[in-house]
Symmetry: C2
Subunit: 434 residues, 2 copies
């Protein structure tokens, strides 16, 4: 197919939804993406490019010259254009900006002036705002006259005062339902969620979720309406932020299956080296007890059980804590309660596992003393795991460090070190022998 017949490729792709064409490009071998994109020609328009996976898009954009990028960007809405430009290196970005029409350049430059991942980058600047003293009829006439001059991509109409500060929002459904002579102020809802232009996108997403918003007004520091965030952009953010947490907790960075081998190696290797460090610390702890292990090899045999269960118990608590923090469910008010609950859970689970392991080890090695030592170590380690699993992410969050990135290292290290200390230390202290 991609072996020559350009016209045929375009004919086949033409009826597809832009998102499906984007998918198609992502699915072919990385080496074939370039030729396929070339063959698609005009079918590969701004819509397709904004639908594309970020990683694949960056690879494609990299080989276009700034003039071509500028052409594409001109056809996009501000928020999509910003998404493309913010990933380019500064030089190319400046060159693309120079090739844009003045008004568009100004809009994008302003958006880029807001911090990354803020509402300012996310918002669209095309919106419908009407004065309070209008009637429904006037609104409808205004829209009919404006026709294609205004965006059709709006779901709510904002009502503003003379200084362009939002005073309310009207659902289009209510506008449609109301007779022409009804005043805008009687249709609009006064309570509305305003998004400050510098609010973090994660926070924006939480607001949308909490209040079931379709769109929301973005205001600058003086409270003036500057843009609108719509739910379709937020949907992507919710997915991205949750994905980030999964991947970071697992040490895969911001991994994407479209990353190149070199990118994957560099993120993952960094993490493996950090973990090598913590594993060495655990080994040093074991080293202290080399003499004890030499006297009783059963200790070495049981070591993985101590570390595996401590690690697992900690990971469970850590995942719940990290997500509760990310979704604003863990607040000052319930922190103490949550910690106390984790302690109770850890004591019960610790006791159950300790009983199982203690009895099994005692019977298998026909050594009651060994059974008691591992059982005690288990309760201690699962309690440590529960505490570390909740305290470490909480502390990191209070210090404004992303708990998903750094928690696993600290938590695993704590459970490994404490687990081996409890187990081998107790064995040594009580003079355990085979």
């Amino acid at each position: 197919l991609a072996a020559g017949d350009t016209a045929r490729v375009q004919e086949l792709a033409e009826p597809l939804h832009p998102a499906d064409i984007a998918d198609l490009i992502e699915q072919v071998e990385p080496g074939e993406r370039q030729p396929l994109a070339a063959a698609l020609g005009a079918v590969l328009d701004a819509d397709v490019i904004s639908e594309m996976n970020e990683v694949v898009r960056e690879q494609l954009i990299d080989v276009l010259d700034p003039g071509q990028v500028a052409d594409v960007v001109t056809q996009m809405e501000t928020d999509d254009a910003v998404a493309i430009l913010e990933d380019m290196d500064e030089e190319d970005q400046a060159e693309v900006l120079r090739s844009l029409p003045a008004d568009e350049r100004a809009a994008i430059e302003e958006a880029l002036s807001y911090p990354e991942e803020s509402a300012g980058r996310l918002m669209q600047r095309d919106l419908i705002a009407v004065p309070e003293y209008w009637t429904v009829g006037q609104v409808i006439d205004f829209l009919r006259q404006a026709g294609d001059d205004v965006t059709s991509d709006f779901w709510e109409i904002f009502v503003v005062d003379p200084s362009h500060k939002p005073v309310g929002t009207m659902r289009l459904s209510l506008v449609l339902r109301s007779p022409r002579n009804v005043l805008v102020t009687d249709v609009m809802k006064r309570e509305q969620t305003l998004i400050p232009v510098d609010m973090d996108q994660e926070e924006v997403a939480l607001r949308f979720q909490k209040y079931a918003l379709i769109s929301a007004a973005v205001v600058d520091t003086s409270g003036r309406l500057v843009g609108v965030v719509t739910v379709d952009d937020v949907v992507h953010i919710i997915q991205e932020e949750a994905d980030e947490d999964i991947l970071r907790l697992s040490g895969a960075g911001d991994g994407d299956i479209n990353d190149s081998v070199r990118e994957i190696v560099s993120t993952r290797l960094r993490w493996l080296v950090v973990n090598l460090g913590t594993a060495i610390i655990a080994s040093i702890v074991i080293g202290f007890f080399a003499g004890t292990i030499e006297k009783m090899v059963a200790l070495a045999i049981l070591m993985p059980i101590v570390s595996a269960l401590g690690g697992n118990a900690a990971t469970q608590t850590m995942a719940v804590t990290v997500r509760a923090l990310a979704t604003d469910q863990l607040t000052e008010a319930n922190t103490r309660r949550t910690i106390l609950k984790e302690i109770r859970v850890a004591l019960i689970n610790g006791a159950a596992i300790a009983f199982l392991v203690g009895v099994a080890a005692g019977l298998y090695f026909t050594n009651v003393h060994l059974g008691l030592v591992i059982a005690t170590a288990m309760i201690g380690n699962i309690l440590v795991a529960g505490l570390a699993g909740v305290m470490v992410p909480l502390t990191l969050d209070r210090m404004d460090v992303d708990p998903a990135v750094s928690s696993p290292v600290f938590v695993t290290m704590t459970t490994d070190v404490m687990g081996f200390l409890f187990f081998l230390g107790l064995a040594a202290a009580t003079g355990l022998t085979g």
Copy 2:
């Protein structure tokens, strides 16, 4: 505050958004939720209850009698009512249904007849559908006359043929912009995403995300329009599904910080016991080499490094794979490519880590042989980790088993067992001694 003055509590809560009142209830101690709910009285309406965290809601609903639940449910939209009823036990559910007005009961019973987590449970039945031959003016008049008799919770109007099959969708913004005499067929978009009533909610969410939908028509098996899914419900699902993956990968089940201690203990303990099983298998492997370890305790000291790094490398790959599967990014077309890429990454990372560990161990224990053994074991184990991390979730997914739930057990077991086998087996086979 909650110490008596009911009127004051209601006065304070009155101006709050339902979602904020719901938050308030979630934030207080579990024991105080009941009295607070009682004090809130009428302020605690259907809106507040639908906004509440599922776990907290269930706890509150449990103590209400079926008559009260029926009162609340009557005021809700079908989808919210279904969300409450589906969590109740069958007896209570039947009793609530009996207390409902006939039409509402029928609607809810129909929704409950669709599989759990399907579009049928998620959809609203209140929607606006108009015939193709109408004009924009007729649509507006129809809505103005109907007034409060029809829902105001719609963002698109569906156009249907005489057999009530959807033929297109109209954005409200376009309806507002068009002159009265324009035909509905000239405003509507013919291409639309139809959601079969039995489609899984995760699939529904992916469609919404991919095509940036605000609402979508739900059709029954004969293609007739039966309901509408709106994006605000989908937003919750995206969050939930991603959260589920994080928590399941971490063995915390569907953990929620509002779960009771008993629920937490039971989900987590089950997982810990499964992991105890896999840890015991790892211990048995070590047991085979007890003689080798007795001769050289350095092996026991280095064991945690082998298992920790294998486990970490596997978790990285597994997280990326699980998310790629969940978001439909890993398809037949790129499976082979992804596996080959993982092998290359594993070989590079394995070699790097093997070099570091080999040199460090060789120098520390002044034993070149030991350094070579651990380095070789490391490459082998990281390669196994990379393969297991991608193959296990893929295989489970092909077998229609949720990869997030079961992958970690198999993957960790594989890396532990293979790691110890490589390391201790190689040490024994090459006659390593201290």
